[in-house]
Symmetry: C2
Amino acid sequence: MEPARSEGTGAPCLVILGGGQLARMLALAAVPLGCRVRCVETHADCPAAWVAPVTTVPSWEDVPAVVSAVGPEGVVTLENEFIPDGTIEALAARGRTVLPGFATMRRIRDKFLQKTTLADAGLPVPAFAPVAGPEEIRARGASWGWPVVLKARCHGYDGKGNATLQGPQDVEEAWRRLGGPSGRALYVEAFCPFEREIAVQVTRGRDGRSVVYPVVETVQRNHICHHVLAPARLGGPLAARAAELAQAAVESVGGVGTFGVEMFLGAEGALWINELAPRVHNSGHYTIEACECSQFENHVRAVLGWPLGSVRMRAPAAVMVNLLGRTAGSGRVRGLEQALAIPGVHVHLYGKSRCAPGRKMGHVTVLGTTVEEAWARAEEAARAIEFGVGSEEE
Amino acid sequence: MEPARSEGTGAPCLVILGGGQLARMLALAAVPLGCRVRCVETHADCPAAWVAPVTTVPSWEDVPAVVSAVGPEGVVTLENEFIPDGTIEALAARGRTVLPGFATMRRIRDKFLQKTTLADAGLPVPAFAPVAGPEEIRARGASWGWPVVLKARCHGYDGKGNATLQGPQDVEEAWRRLGGPSGRALYVEAFCPFEREIAVQVTRGRDGRSVVYPVVETVQRNHICHHVLAPARLGGPLAARAAELAQAAVESVGGVGTFGVEMFLGAEGALWINELAPRVHNSGHYTIEACECSQFENHVRAVLGWPLGSVRMRAPAAVMVNLLGRTAGSGRVRGLEQALAIPGVHVHLYGKSRCAPGRKMGHVTVLGTTVEEAWARAEEAARAIEFGVGSEEE
């Protein structure tokens, strides 16, 4: 898989911890720049394995296995936030460059610490507080007003590890469901009366300089990103303010690489930072076709210490729609040809061998002259594509 | 490298004969569409090996080895025209789908047969004739006027296998140099008094429908493509005529997939077809960023029988400049960061471990509002990048 004489090219090596679709798209962006890419994963059958060699490890906690799999050369980066602190620290302790770095990851992975870091930097976040038990949650609800959101400090994603509590009657069940009684660290946030959710990708280089992608609108269904509209339909000053906040947020955690910054937009232009993702982000997949330099290429440039590319959009508008699994079954795709027949549709399939309801199986992007026009074509394409239907019988 | 449970995705498989930069870029375009890609090459250390598993064969003439390397599944395609007829025929005889097909390849690989096919279809080509010896060459020169071009019927590329003869005094030496005395089949063409060279990519589907990319201007230095300007600076009617000719040329050979059609543009808008390449072509690399669907993605769509994508340009102009080796040495790159610092520069490195004068090591593409403006940035980027300089000492 790797060139026998890689020393001939002197190619920089990028080692990605994780082998999902983000690693796959990072590899597709890194190779044209002359990078050799290797991935480390817990299972060999992963999306990145189609384009890069994957070394498997028994678990992310198995530090000697991860250190050995990472190998002796290259810059190490992460495609998800589930690699344990101890593992990243162990790599750093062996002198390996891991970006984003340990300190950044620690401040982001623990969402309470993340909020604290953002608040300390003067950035707008919803009111939040640690909670040690149901009583404290009820007290916060009484003081901030209901609803409040109970969240796991670590390992939450796509709505998992979150509960919105409408009143004191919801507290006990959520506390139990999120693992409070067994000692899982939780915290509580005031509910943001948001009208829309927006997101911004920021890529920050090793030298601290950063570029900010256009502000986009993200629409979630069942807590999973359903589609993304670029640019967000906002006034110029509001978009500029969101871009500034996103840049400052990544600065506050000392991030290097591409970060997704999710925000709530309230009535009359109020903005709160909801969450920082220390990696390329679903809300930035549109940049592959829509921006001069994608979030993936800029991540590679950033972690390798290269100049960042232009984030300018190539079209007035772009819409990305996720291809989410509807049923459990194989990863076999149906309707691809129908989708490809729609003009200007860019299909990205992740090559997952199993489908599950809500699982991200791929996405489509359409560029257009208006968000509305691109959206119509993207939705049509996404509706055409299905996974796993009837495939078990074949 | 391949997913352990590829049957889970039901992914179509594309087997590429050849593992050079064209195979590499085909693989980069095929994977997002959910295709598994495998390459067959004579050496493991090839550009495509960075993104796809490569099975090596001792030679392209070793039919059993190639058949075994191709394996039992997938559509077979070619990234170069040097696979022997017998090998392609053997695959077809075993029921494998090979596209472009045997009949197309045979009509293109032999340039005399290619010219005959084009002429028979009523398409404009320079006067041409088979020659059995120096005497016949001199006779053609006397009848058509000098210069004339002596060409090998097969296996010529980048100016190799061609000689321009200014008069009878040049005949003997060229006849010897091109291998006439040892029986290599040669033919002679009238010299086209061209002012510029243009090229057009055509992708033709299995159903015979085709799409035609914008006409581009190609500039050769030492018979090697140096840069490509898109679109060509031609009047609309002339561009439309070139597009029509290109489409008809691919039709005439029954091509399926992406083809590069090279043409000569003479004074007062005369057009002659110079050569057909039965594959994605250097003059179409600009389409990766500049067109909605690249020549690579459309090739994949065509050979898999899928609908073809839009060939519309995303910007008013684009310029591609080849990164050609200047010296012999390693493939180690210098100046990449300097090139990446220029706004809007897209760098594509091919990962070749050895550099040689004139060897295609990569290319850069820049999109712009005018050809002139994009050209300036692309040339600046290409000048910054060097290969193999001083690398032997490291």
